[in-house]
């Protein structure tokens, strides 16, 4: 990923996550724009899917058609018939480096992203040559019984396992965009970690990248079996460049008894993107699910990672950060559902609004009847950097059990003048001082990131603060 990775870290994860791309070429599928039964059936047919998946897609399309647009959150102005719902890899990688907008290239440079990766991130077809490294990792994982593949492959190679869980955590009826994804999904990761297996390095989406992973409608399903552990990382700090304006993923995670899963996302979308994502995990007895979610860029992001704690002792933790700059609306948040006794939850949300950007925290804490001794704490802090920007906080709290302890606190403020004055009196420019304060503000998130992400995150914040990104 980044250039500044500690040497030890490099040895461990190596450069494997950089150049591993599936280069197998496939027939070009010339889909037309728009969405209807024909397109959806065609997508399924192109992928050679079993009938149940085709039927699932078609049923989801009906649900998508029937559901009204959400009336809350951000203003969504999308012409669903003006989007390509399925693009074959060859289409997308045919783009040349010259097509990539100058400001995106510039940002890559500023972030210090290597040439090859830059091109990949920009969706440019490139040559890669580290099959070997990737292969050894894959071998190590599969020796342990871990399945790590793309979801399309899993439909074919692990049909029983996939079908047992697919669409059970987030049914297509859940919301309009989950229905859309269910109808046209393509790519995404499928991971199964067998009982007791612990993967001690972060699994990165890049390991598994093929062109479809870059799709706008990826579908990820992660099953962490009893006592197993995994840390999955997706995204990157460089702006994701896409010619299509809609990204709508569905991510389902199942964390079984005593298992542990952390799912880290850092995404920085280009300014034209609607990023409307549904992420939900269920945690069983004494299991722990953690979402670490960083949202930058995009025209509008609506994303509320959820943990349903379904058995005693389950834990859910969500750490969310949003940075909204000019023309951007981050409507991000978190949901925790306490469905069993002795469950524990925590939400920490940090948001920053700058240059007329708007960031919203929207969250839910729900304690169901019988969830004795549920404990949950929510802290939301928002920082507004100028008078043009806006911040909203909408935490929903629903409690149906008396024996609980639930707390929520939120504050909105601007950078303290005393703080600024102090730092500037020590020789910093106002911009440097502001950056330092903002870095301190998001510290709780950054320290949870894998090293290379943390480095990039800090650099990205610096760029955002200088106003040279976004």
């Amino acid at each position: 990923m980044a250039t500044e990775v500690a040497a030890s870290e490099k040895d461990r994860i190596g450069e494997i996550n950089k150049y591993d791309f599936q280069t197998k070429s496939e027939a070009v599928f010339k889909a037309r724009k728009g969405i209807d039964r024909e397109i959806v059936a065609q997508i399924s047919e192109m992928k050679g899917e079993p009938a149940w998946m085709r039927d699932f897609r078609l049923r989801s399309l009906d649900i998508f058609d029937a559901k009204p647009m959400p009336t809350w959150g951000g203003d969504i102005n999308i012409d669903f018939q003006d989007i390509y719902y399925y693009l074959k890899p060859t289409d997308k990688q045919g783009k040349s480096w010259d097509d990539v907008p100058a400001e995106i290239k510039e940002t890559f440079d500023k972030l210090g992203i290597p040439e090859a990766e830059k091109k990949f991130l920009a969706g440019v077809k490139a040559q890669f040559e580290s099959e070997v490294v990737y292969g050894s990792l894959q071998e190590d994982l599969s020796n342990k019984g871990v399945i790590f593949t793309d979801t399309d492959t899993a439909v074919k190679e692990h049909p029983e396992l996939l079908r047992e869980y697919f669409g059970t955590i987030i049914p297509p009826e859940d919301n309009k965009f989950a229905a859309l994804n269910s109808a046209v999904w393509s790519g995404g990761s499928f991971i199964y970690v067998p009982p007791g297996v612990s993967i001690d390095f972060p699994l990165q989406a890049y390991f598994r990248i093929n062109a479809e992973r870059m799709g706008q409608f990826e579908r990820t399903l992660i099953i962490v079996d009893e006592g197993a552990q995994i840390h999955y990382v997706e995204g990157c700090t460089a702006p994701m460049y896409s010619s299509e304006s809609l990204h709508s993923a569905v991510v389902e995670v199942i964390v079984k008894k005593n298992a542990r899963c952390r799912y880290t996302t850092i995404q920085n979308w280009a300014n034209n993107i609607y990023n409307l994502v549904t992420k939900r995990a269920v945690a069983y007895q004494d299991a722990t699910m953690e979402w670490v979610d960083g949202n930058l860029g995009s025209h509008l992001t609506m994303k509320y990672p959820a943990v349903y704690m379904l058995e005693p002792g389950a834990r859910g933790e969500i750490l969310s950060i949003a940075f909204a700059s000019s023309g951007q609306h981050q409507d991000a948040g978190a949901k925790l559902v306490h469905g069993a006794p002795n469950t524990t939850g925590q939400i920490i949300s940090k948001s920053i609004s700058k240059n007329g950007g708007r960031s919203s925290y929207r969250g839910l804490v729900k304690v169901e009847k019988g969830a004795h001794n549920a404990k949950c704490n929510v802290v939301c802090d928002a920082l507004i950097l100028d008078p043009e920007s806006r911040s909203d906080t909408y935490p929903y709290i629903e409690i149906a059990e008396q024996d609980v302890s639930i707390g929520h606190e939120a504050s909105v403020s601007r950078i303290g003048e005393e703080q600024l004055f102090y730092l500037m009196s020590r020789g910093m420019s106002e911009s440097e001082a502001s950056t330092m304060i903002v870095n301190g503000f998001i510290e709780p998130l950054v320290k949870e990131l894998p090293m290379e992400y943390a480095v990039e995150m800090n650099r990205l914040i610096q760029l955002q603060m200088e106003g040279s990104v976004g």
Binding site: V367, I384, P387, S405, E409, S411
Partner: protein
């Protein structure tokens, strides 16, 4: 519902007859007709609307109620807030029909207007036309606001001229026993004036039903001070729909205490708009529910001007299978710099079958602000109950003390003439009458009745 009432539903014929019966100025009749048109056009709110998602009114049957007529007159419920209190004036209605009004001559001679709104509307047309359904409550907001604006029969007006201070409180009571109450409250505080208003609603019998569809409009002029107390203690079968809105001008202050105890189902929108620099508002609300009651309070503190302060605190204690919804918003307009906004909702669940929803919200469009909100939900601490029991109290008494302690912060702003007893006593017989009073004091003093300290951060 009482079977003696004649109910025709809110029909065109009944509206026409109602308009015919009113001897009102043209502008007011026009206003009613426009609102009636809105009422006919609008549907009852749907569950899909954010405001109504948590409040199910499918069992509410509008056609079981109708525009109150003189024949609906009934006995008034006992005015709780008047106990031991000397007032400057009191205005009462029952089932939507004015019952009686008292008003001290010494106060009237200062130019203060007080009494039944429908009578005063004819005598002080200009003043009322300027305020009624203009800037505070929007008649076209929903079907209920439209119904109210079209068909209100009675109400209370208080007008305090510029610079006048009235020491004694004003009082109004709307009573409802099986009928329909569409009463309107209009309070207009002139510049640098000062007054206290005690507004209560109640029913003759604890289990009385009825429909209240009301509105309160409060104008606090520049530099004025108003202390306002609302006690909602309707019978347990009353449907309560209310829009309450206060507009607070430059350097003015509004202190509003709410006790919400009664009704079968309540949906109240309580909004305060701070429109001049230096305006201040403090709201302290208590919800105390039992049985299958459903109380839904939606508050908004709207900062439309810079340098304003708002502080909202709502506390709910829930028994049995009752449910509360509190949804609060601090809205800060662009340019409302130096805003200091605070909102807090604490819930105490006294039963495993109760449910409390809290939705605190911040919508901030200025950068130089300090806005904070918090919400906690907890139960009465076992240790505390155990401790109280070792000191000779029953468990029930111990819980009552804990609840009293829980609410106590809301009472600090009460006018001297009103005590917390006035507000919580009606709900639970003997609530504040724990015999072992010195023990209670001891417990309060030592702080051992503060709830779970780790979650309640005051």
């Amino acid at each position: 519902m009482s079977s003696t009432l004649e109910v025709s539903g809110f029909t065109q014929a009944s509206f026409d007859a109602f308009i015919e019966s009113r001897n009102e100025p043209g502008w007011l009749i026009d206003l009613r007709r426009q609102a009636w048109k809105s009422f006919l056009e609008k549907d009852l709110p749907a569950r899909t609307e954010e405001e109504w998602m948590r409040t199910d009114i499918r069992l509410f049957k509008l056609d079981r109620f109708g525009i109150p007529t003189a024949s609906d007159q009934a006995e008034c419920s006992r005015p709780l807030l008047l106990e031991g209190v000397e007032v400057a004036g009191s205005n009462k209605s029952a089932n939507g029909v004015s019952v009686d009004t008292s008003f001290a001559d010494s106060v009237a001679s200062q130019g203060v207007l007080f009494g039944d709104l429908s009578q005063l509307a004819n005598q002080h047309e200009a003043l009322i036309q300027k305020h009624l359904f203009t800037r505070a409550v929007n008649p076209h907001f929903d079907k209920f606001s439209a119904l109210h604006a079209a068909c209100w029969t009675t109400g209370t007006l208080l007008y305090v001229p510029d610079g006048v201070t009235v020491e004694l409180p004003f009082h109004s009571l709307a009573s409802l026993s099986g009928g329909t109450d569409l009463s309107h409250l209009l309070v207009i505080m002139g510049e640098n004036s000062e007054a206290t208003f005690l507004n209560e609603t109640g029913s003759l019998h604890e289990n009385d039903g009825g429909l209240h569809c009301g509105a309160s409009e409060i104008f606090v002029g520049k530099g004025a001070r108003l202390r306002f107390v609302t006690l909602q203690d309707w019978g347990r079968d009353v449907w309560h729909f209310a829009h309450q809105r206060a507009i607070v001008d430059r350097d003015a202050s509004l202190q509003w205490t709410v006790g919400a105890l009664g009704s079968r189902l309540s949906k109240a929108n309580q909004e305060v708009e701070l429109v001049g620099p230096g305006a201040e508002c403090q709201v302290n609300g208590v919800m105390f529910t039992e049985g299958k009651q459903h109380l839904s309070y939606h508050t908004q503190q709207h900062h439309a001007a810079p340098h304003c302060r708002s502080d909202f605190l709502y506390k709910a204690a829930l028994q049995d299978k009752s449910r509360t919804v509190w949804r609060g918003i601090i809205k800060v307009d662009p340019g409302a710099q130096k805003t200091d906004g605070y909102q807090r909702n604490d819930n105490l669940l006294l039963s495993g079958n109760a449910r409390a929803d809290a939705i605190p919200g911040l919508a901030i469009e200025a950068d130089d602000v300090r806005c904070t909100h918090g919400s906690t939900t907890a139960r009465v601490d076992d240790e505390l109950v155990f401790y109280a029991q070792t000191r000779g109290l029953t468990k029930r008494e111990a819980v009552r003390i804990a609840v009293t302690g829980f609410f106590s912060k809301c009472w600090t702003a009460l006018p001297l003439t009103v005590s917390e007893k006035h507000l919580v006593k009606p709900s639970v017989a003997g609530f504040a009458n724990v015999n072992n009073s010195h023990l209670v004091e001891f417990a309060m003093d030592t702080g051992c009745f503060s709830l779970r300290k780790e979650t309640i951060r005051e």
